[in-house]
Subunit: 264 residues, 2 copies
């Protein structure tokens, strides 16, 4: 443990976060859900999410950028295995937890189901929701589009989102099969690590901000991460955009971005 780390009991953290989310305007049951999602993520060791993101979520809730009391609605297919919902701009944890419960209940009835949600927000680690299916003996997939953040050679702007996807399946024992990945070749943190170690990076990890090939972790970090397996990850990312953004009644986020610029 380094100087800037401290150890906190999960139970204490859960309670603390419940208070924090309640304070930020969530209903008490939603605050419990958000706290549980956060703590579970860190207990799994996914420290790039969970607690690290909490300050941003709270800031957005308090500023009104995220709706603390969303009125989630089914827009289409309420009694069918394919359903479209409106997340009413709620916190990603809350909207996705609700939507995945609906998907799992439907899959129990029909054998398979897909629930697509629009107007949601950052949902943390996708595995939180995929696991809700394997917990009930089913295969589960949770995916989302994100603002474009990965590049392609020759592009000065990001070409696609790293659109994360989590997959789970029950394996009969205590632990399900679980995969939680984004569509970039590596996480940005790997470039920081190479910087520290004074190492070159493989040329398929990142491009410079001018979209040029690079093995320099500094140039790559200032530029864009590349998709995993180049065209393969790029194609998978676009497909997730189609399945979530377009099927959800939105549009390709990178189109929105070219029209309106980045929201940050």
């Amino acid at each position: 443990m380094t100087e800037d780390q401290l150890t906190v009991q999960a139970g204490f953290l859960r309670e603390y976060l419940t208070g924090l989310f309640t304070h930020a305007g969530l209903s008490s049951s939603d605050a419990v859900c958000a706290a549980e999602c956060t703590v579970q993520t860190n207990l799994w060791g996914i420290d790039s999410h969970g607690l690290l993101r909490t300050p941003i979520y709270i800031k957005r809730l308090v500023s009104g950028a995220v709706n603390p009391r969303p009125d989630m609605k089914v827009l289409k297919g309420e009694k069918r295995p394919l359903e479209l919902c409106d997340g009413d701009d709620g916190l990603g944890y809350i909207v996705s937890d609700w939507a995945m419960d609906r998907a799992v209940n439907k899959a129990e009835e029909f054998g398979i189901a897909l629930v697509v949600v629009n107007s949601s927000n950052h949902f943390g680690a996708a595995s939180l929701f995929a696991k809700k299916a394997s917990d009930r003996g089913m295969f589960g997939i949770a995916a989302t589009n994100v603002m474009p953040n990965i590049g392609m050679r020759g592009n000065r702007r990001p070409a696609a989102g790293n659109n994360p996807e989590a997959l789970s399946a029950p394996l009969g024992g205590d632990f399900p099969f679980m995969l939680d990945i984004s569509m970039s070749a590596v996480a940005g943190g790997k470039l920081l690590l190479a910087q520290k170690k004074g190492e070159k990076i493989p040329k398929d990890w990142a491009v410079t901000s001018d979209g040029l090939e690079t093995d320099d972790p500094f140039e790559g970090f200032k530029g864009f991460l590349l998709p995993m397996g180049m065209h393969k990850g790029f194609g998978l990312s676009l497909y997730i955009d189609l399945l979530t953004g377009v099927l959800g009644g939105g549009a390709f986020l990178h189109q929105l971005r070219s029209m309106y610029g980045s929201p940050d």
Copy 2:
């Protein structure tokens, strides 16, 4: 065009192949389907499949390794959106064409559907079947497990199949979105190309037959291809194995292989 290439009219080839597949024992309608799948694949430029695989298919049909007159059956879920079928060891083209038609019809009725088939064989390019959905205005996914052929560092045996997956979506115009990839970092042909050019290969393309890191295209070719994005492609490959092999009532092919050895 090089010396060993020749140009053939698609119509002529279709007719010729129909005769060939009929001769190998297929019913006339199945022979037309197999010929059409073959020609379409080469018209798309996927020359790693299509015609290149025809001699193997014919050999297997004639030897009885593949059943030329399969009696495909629905085993479970005939009237539901999740269905399990028995391919009766038929030619992959025939079994998959039949199964995808069932899936698309079901999706038209329910909004979403999944058909899993066991006892099938090599089905050529997965996009042939994914496209049947986008042709009818739907998202389509076709995937299969294959015998283990990709490695992981430290393994002297292949750790997973390169389990191909094709994804399609209608885009409103003449051309659908289409992605057809396998889960290896690159195709074996890329290593042959590097050999010819006298180039090194990136270290995440392949391992030696002892499972060791290599940038030598000769050592890599004698060894195993690595999964795209390392653990990412490896995980996606295992998930396809679960969705096809295990859900289909089979088992992980790599388990079968450790028990019985490779069939080739």
